[in-house]
């Protein structure tokens, strides 16, 4: 139950946040989507021992957070949830890869630990950049950009519809769960003899709702396309953002700062 309300809060928070009007929010959604995808690709393109490189890549989400005025706490909460799988798979690196690679303050550090850390940093960065994208752009605008990038119309409409109904259905699921809990105190989950009826009832209601939604949409002139309220003009600012972001990524990817350090040392 707390699970459902927690999830609802997460969705609503990002939804409301995406309506802010900071510099980041006003940039073209399509450009933001493209920059985010390039960023993720570059982050994962680092080799498994290139810890320094991926740490440097954190520059992008860090600066974006400030530009978008997004509280780091909200981001961290979401990132933490995504980590267990990455850590579960990565934790075997220190076990299998024990060759000492470098010394830090006289303590030998094995390659496995370095690649494990690299993996975690990569996980944090890729997840963060995606959340920052939604938080500054909103699902409607992302969907709009997907249309501009030639994704199938049906798919885009479907995403918007699914998104709209998630909160409605989560509320229904939450009230079913509460009703069950009140009648069956002290149980961890739903007993097996009501598995079918409990979800099945919700499913039947959902099905009928789907039909009613369709009828209502037809009556209002739905022709298979979604009309977006705001038409985005890709201004000079957006192109500038694209340029600066790409240049920054390139500088980090080619490790220019490390090169300068090497020359100095």
């Amino acid at each position: 139950m707390s699970n459902i309300t927690g999830a609802l809060y997460k969705i609503r928070y990002l939804d409301e946040f995406s309506r802010k009007k900071t510099l980041m929010h006003r940039l073209s959604p399509t450009i933001k989507l493209i920059v985010t995808l390039i960023y993720i690709l570059l982050v994962v393109s680092f080799g498994k021992y290139q810890l320094g490189g991926v740490i440097a890549m954190s520059a992008y989400p860090l600066i974006m957070l400030s530009l978008a005025e997004m509280p780091a706490k909200e981001l961290i909460k979401r990132v933490v949830v995504a980590m267990p799988f990455v850590m579960g798979v990565g934790i075997f690196n220190p076990v299998f890869d024990r060759d000492i690679m470098t010394y830090f303050l006289g303590i030998g550090i094995s390659g496995g630990w370095i690649s494990f850390l690299t993996l975690i940093v990569k996980g944090v960065l890729t997840v963060s950049s995606a959340i920052i994208l939604v938080g500054t752009t909103g699902i409607e605008n992302i969907a709009h950009s997907m249309r501009i990038l030639k994704m199938p119309k049906i798919f885009v409409v479907l995403i918007l519809l699914t998104y709209r109904y998630i909160s409605v259905l989560m509320e229904e699921a939450a009230s079913i769960w509460t009703a069950y809990k009140l009648r069956a105190p002290g149980q961890k989950g739903i007993r097996h003899d009501v598995w079918g009826p409990l979800l099945g009832q919700l499913l039947l209601r959902t099905y009928d709702r789907g039909i009613r939604v369709y009828d209502a949409m037809i009556l209002r002139g739905f022709d298979g396309d979604f009309r977006m309220g705001t038409a985005f003009v890709t201004g000079i600012g957006s192109y500038l953002f694209l340029l600066i972001a790409l240049a920054g990524f390139l500088i980090i990817r080619l490790s220019v700062i490390t090169m300068i350090l090497d020359l100095l040392i």
Binding site: G52, M101, S115, L161, L169, L204
Partner: protein, 333 residues
Amino acid sequence: MHMADALLSPAVGGAMWAAASGGAAYSANKLKTDLDDRKIPLMGVMGAFVFASQMINFTIPATGSSGHIGGGMLLAILLGGHAGFLTMASVLLIQALFFADGGLLALGANIFNLGFFTCYVAYPLIYKKIISNKYTRGRLIAASVISVVVALQLGAFSVVLQTFFSGKTELPFTSFLLLMQPIHLAIGLVEGLITAAVVSFVWNARPEIITHANERKPLKNIDIRKVIVGVLIATVVVGGFLSWFASENPDGLEWAIFNTTGTEELEGSNPVNEFFARIQEKTAFLPDYGFKETSEGAGNSGTSFSGVTGGIITMVLALGVGKLISVFKRIKS
């Protein structure tokens, strides 16, 4: 069972993206031609239903644990293969964006693992074959359980393959496989039983919902071979293309080669390799701050040390810039 961005290499992630978008384009196209357009809103709310219902926990009898429904198979059963696939894809996209389940690069892999195997493999080849248009409670339950279990096994296997080819972890292929398959057998059984319970309940109450999905899309219309061949071609082309570009790095496919043959590169240099070798020589003054070299020449930790330091300096710089922006904004308002 969501795959994460961090575990993927660009080549594998890109290949899976190509496979998934190929599947999405095919199913969208298929739906456009024979869509009863009543289905679009239905697909939307059913996607939301799967989303919401995955948050309700079901107690597994005689154990202390609990599970939830498997979405892909239920969607295929209720909406048919194409609509189910597309709906699953949209659910996964929203999960990636709002809940950090999986990631944007891993989205392709996740759509493939959780959508393709359920809607385009288990649904037509197992579920429909078992039902074969004779609906009984027993058949429905058997078909749901078996198809969910098989789809999840294939999905789990696919996660292992994707992780292996990405080469980001040291986990040996067989160990990972032996870890993943049994766990997902148990999960699959639970998900299958819950799915079966829901399907047979709906069939009792409103049989037309279950039978319609099957009839509206006669099996003849779905040319599975075309889908599979298309997806395969897209995967190979993009995977090959990207790994060719990525081949300067000692990761990804090379890592896989290294682990299977014991050498970093297959013997015998080809023009492509030579080309990159020459580029590498030319750009050798760019320290490719890998720790690799330092492991050979012990004590020479200069590059690795400055590599990490450089990274941290960049991060601190970014933090400083961020702080400056915040301060500037506060003064302005």
